[in-house]
């Protein structure tokens, strides 16, 4: 492989770095998507197998269908809020705080749901059946997404307040964060749809 010695700048342009970061985040989203897919596959696999009628025992409890959707709502609002804000930068200051607050509320709600599960067997310290196990797992993934989303939203809110979110590179970063928030909303909706099918 022959080379020539044309001189180029040693520092990449913000657009180049921005596109690079966007691709990296999209690949991480692919990995996260594969993880969410594995959980949804497991949910329907166990539900359809219903081994020993153990998916949902006769006197078993479930989360209400609406609770899954209620917990997806903060993600949806946060995605809309952030993506709206990064397109209209003058309102980013307020909207970044809205994004953070909404996700923080969602985080508390998700924690509260997992702390008050109706299907724990107090005397055995375990779960009622496979549905209960899957619902806990999906809720745990949602909780992790809330933690990550809240971290990113807090960073954006602080940086916007400090005036750090200016310049071409930061514009790209906000756009990339928008991809992440949109993915969080999609995955939460996918989990909500999944848990809407509780009974066999």
């Amino acid at each position: 492989m022959s080379t020539s010695t044309e001189h180029v700048m040693h520092h990449d342009a913000p657009e180049v770095v921005g596109r690079r970061e966007r691709l990296g985040v999209r690949l991480i989203i692919v990995a996260d998507g594969a993880f969410i897919f594995a959980m949804i596959f497991s949910y329907f696999y166990l539900r359809n197998l219903n081994v020993n009628n153990g998916w949902l025992p006769a006197d078993g409890h479930t989360f209400t269908v609406s609770s899954g959707w209620l917990l997806a709502l903060p993600f949806i609002i946060a995605a809309i809020s952030h993506n709206f804000g990064q397109k209209r930068r003058e309102s980013m200051g307020v909207l970044s705080i809205v994004t953070f607050v909404v996700l923080a509320i969602g985080l508390v709600m998700q924690w509260s749901q997992l702390s008050n599960m109706p299907f724990m067997l107090a005397e055995e310290g375990g779960f009622e059946g496979a549905y209960a196990s899957m619902a806990f797992f999906l809720g745990g993934a949602n909780l992790l997404h809330y933690v990550l989303g809240t971290f990113v939203a807090l960073g954006i809110a602080i940086r916007t307040k400090r005036g750090s979110s200016t310049g071409t590179h930061e514009t790209w970063r906000l756009r990339t964060a928008g991809s992440w928030f949109t993915w969080l909303a999609i995955s939460a909706v996918a989990c909500a749809i999944t848990t809407s099918f509780a009974a066999v």
Binding site: T3, H10, H11, P14, G24, A31, G129, S133
Partner: protein, 620 residues
């Protein structure tokens, strides 16, 4: 630029004296990690009754995760994200410090972002893992030297098999893409560093935290399940399984990060003029391998998280009494498990396709065919997982379709054979150590591939499943092809990574000892497997005695060969002949930079004007 995204670098003060970053290293990481683990352990003991297995598993698992998080905090992995969070990004000087500028050997023990440092860290880490896994293999074979041998008891034997398996699988997944994917690949494409240098360091140090966790399995009862850790057996196993589960979860995260990083680097940071048809075939292979891991490994991680929840909080993913299913584990595991075979294999084969044109002094035969072959393997590898479940009872009507997809994978694999044969055909081979690997692969992979076709066949698999035949088959594939490729890669790139030539004499001795020992070991194992000897069993019938004795002799030869290789590497690294800039006369970009390699790899960005394999023909 090594670590800076943009903005001008100040050269006046490379080491910021007051930054916390300068005070953190592996030692502080270990101290904080141990403190975190201890605090979590005693807090857990005070919270939960340790008499119950579930509670003990919970305490152990949380303590292991606490160690990992503590270590990463202690080594400074989270300083960058924290500084981003509060809006005070790392300064140029801090980023240069992280890149290891002017730090000498100490940068290998820090959270260093220089891809060349990370490559060497991976190389040493892989050698340690292969050494540990190999030692366990010797112990396994020693126990099998005669029937009725009680050198180790059955429980320890089971743990040896499990730990040998998972240690080697993890080591082989990173054996090529870790050292060469980090050190060589960015230079090969003309980049100044990886796309995300801090994530690059994170992927290594995450993996590093998993090593003591996996080793701790010995102190908690070992891993009695084999590396596949089938549920519900893994759910019922002792405390050592917690170490296995935590290791896999950490490794999956590390792999996803490394995969995203390497893929982004290759897609976005190639030198000017390096069109896709000018990308070296090793780069294509390594990228395909790590990109394949991105969607494949999360299902493995999910399977282990479910096992962890079953063990620590009483869920029932795999417990049939409460609606769980062992088949679910098998699906999640093998949806990862079969692509993972190619995650291991492809970089090794790609290294040898990189080496063949250099030493045959002829162009790579049909570059397009090589890429199509690699892509075909990737596509089909996601459609074959259930051939591991033929006799599990899961949907026998699907055995036929999975047999067809599995046998189809031999077509793209055959293309890679044709590419290698076409390249050396009528070439003038220069029989140096790296080139010997090409011939070894052609022989080993042929046997590994053909015996794989037997195993993909449902009736044959019905008899051979769970026998030593399977063990011999996948060793021919993973060790005979992937590890052979990695060792050839080490011999090939050793001058660029260390500035010294690998000692040829000891290298040749090692090569022949390993290759002859390997054939003796695993051809003997094929014979025992064909006769019906089951794998993962500590004892066997007298009928298998000759085969097993032959296999054990072969194993010792491999062991001696590997010790000679280790000597060769260590001796050459310290006192080897100083290497010229391009000892092999190769045409790829890494050979255009002198050793020691400049922090940013190139003083001036290269521009590529021809394909990398234009030996013996005029430039296009």
């Amino acid at each position: 630029m090594t670590t800076l995204d943009h903005a001008k670098v100040s050269e006046s003060r490379p080491n910021p004296p007051k930054s916390l970053i300068t005070k953190l290293n592996m030692g502080t990481g270990m101290i904080v990690g141990i403190v975190f683990a201890e605090v979590m352990y005693f807090w857990g003991k005070s919270m939960w009754d340790r008499q119950e297995a579930v509670m003990e598993n919970r305490i152990l698992t949380l303590s292991m995760f606490a160690w990992c998080i503590g270590f990463l905090i202690g080594i400074g992995a989270f300083i960058g994200p924290f500084r981003w969070l509060i809006g005070k990004d790392l300064t140029d000087e801090e980023q240069l410090f992280l890149a290891g500028k002017g730090q000498g050997v100490s940068r290998y023990f820090r959270y260093c972002t220089d891809h060349k440092v990370v490559g060497i860290q991976y190389l040493v880490g892989v050698m340690v893992m292969l050494g540990a896994g190999g030692t366990m293999a010797m112990m396994i074979r020693t126990n099998l030297i005669t029937p009725g041998s009680k050198w180790v008891n059955a429980e320890i034997y089971n743990s040896l098999v499990g730990l040998h398996g998972i240690t080697m699988i993890v080591a082989l997944i990173i054996v090529s893409t870790g050292p060469f994917g980090n050190f060589i690949l960015p230079i090969m494409i003309g980049a100044r560093d990886m796309a995300f240098p801090r994530l690059n360091a994170l992927s290594w140090w995450l993996l590093f935290t998993a090593i003591p966790v996996l080793c701790s399995a010995w102190f908690f009862g070992g891993i009695p399940t084999g590396w596949t850790a089938y549920a519900p057996l893994s759910v019922q196993a002792g405390g050592g399984m917690n170490a296995f589960i935590v290791t896999i979860i950490i490794f999956a995260i590390s792999s996803a990060i490394a995969g995203a990083n390497i893929t982004t680097t290759v897609v976005t940071m190639r030198a000017k003029g390096m069109k896709w048809n000018r990308v070296p075939i090793f780069v294509i292979g390594a990228t395909i391998s790590v990109a394949m891991a991105i969607p494949a490994f999360p299902s493995f991680m999910a399977s282990q998280m479910m096992a962890a929840f079953d063990r620590t909080i009483g869920t029932h993913f795999y417990d049939a009494e409460f609606g769980g299913s062992g088949w679910l584990y098998a699906h999640l595991f093998w949806i990862m498990g079969h692509p993972e075979v190619y995650v291991i294999l492809i970089p090794g084969v790609a290294i040898l396709m990189e080496i063949a044109p250099v030493f045959a002094r002829s162009p790579l035969f049909s570059y397009t065919t090589a890429v199509v072959g690699l892509a075909g393997i990737v596509g089909l590898s996601f459609l074959v997982w259930a051939h591991h479940m033929y006799i599990s009872g899961w949907l026998p009507s699907l055995n036929g379709p999975f047999m067809v997809t599995t046998e189809m994978i031999s077509i793209p694999t055959g293309l890679l054979f044709l590419v290698l044969l076409g390249t050396i055909w009528r070439g003038r081979p220069w029989m140096k150590l790296p080139m010997l690997g090409v011939y070894a692969l052609l022989w080993n992979f042929l046997i590994g591939g053909i015996t794989g076709i037997y195993l993909s066949d449902v009736p044959a698999d019905d008899y051979l499943h769970g026998s030593m035949f399977v063990t011999a088959h996948f060793h021919y594939t993973l060790m005979g092809a992937a590890l052979t490729g990695a060792i050839a890669g080490l011999a090939y790139w050793f001058p660029k990574m260390t500035g010294r030539m690998l000692d040829e004499r000891s290298g040749y001795i090692s090569f022949w000892l390993v290759q002859i020992g390997f054939q003796v070991l695993f051809l003997g194992m094929f014979a025992a497997g064909s006769q019906g000897q089951p794998r993962r069993v500590a004892d066997y019938e007298q009928a298998f005695a000759t085969s097993d004795l032959i296999s054990t002799i072969g194993a010792y030869l491999v062991g001696i060969g590997m010790i000679v290789l280790l000597y060769s590497v260590v001796h050459s690294w310290r006192k080897g002949k100083i290497a010229p800039m391009n000892p092999w006369g190769a045409k790829t970009l890494e050979w255009t930079v002198p050793y020691p390699i400049y922090l940013e790899n190139f003083h001036e960005a290269p521009v590529v004007t021809s394909d990398p394999y234009g030996y013996g023909r005029s430039e296009k």
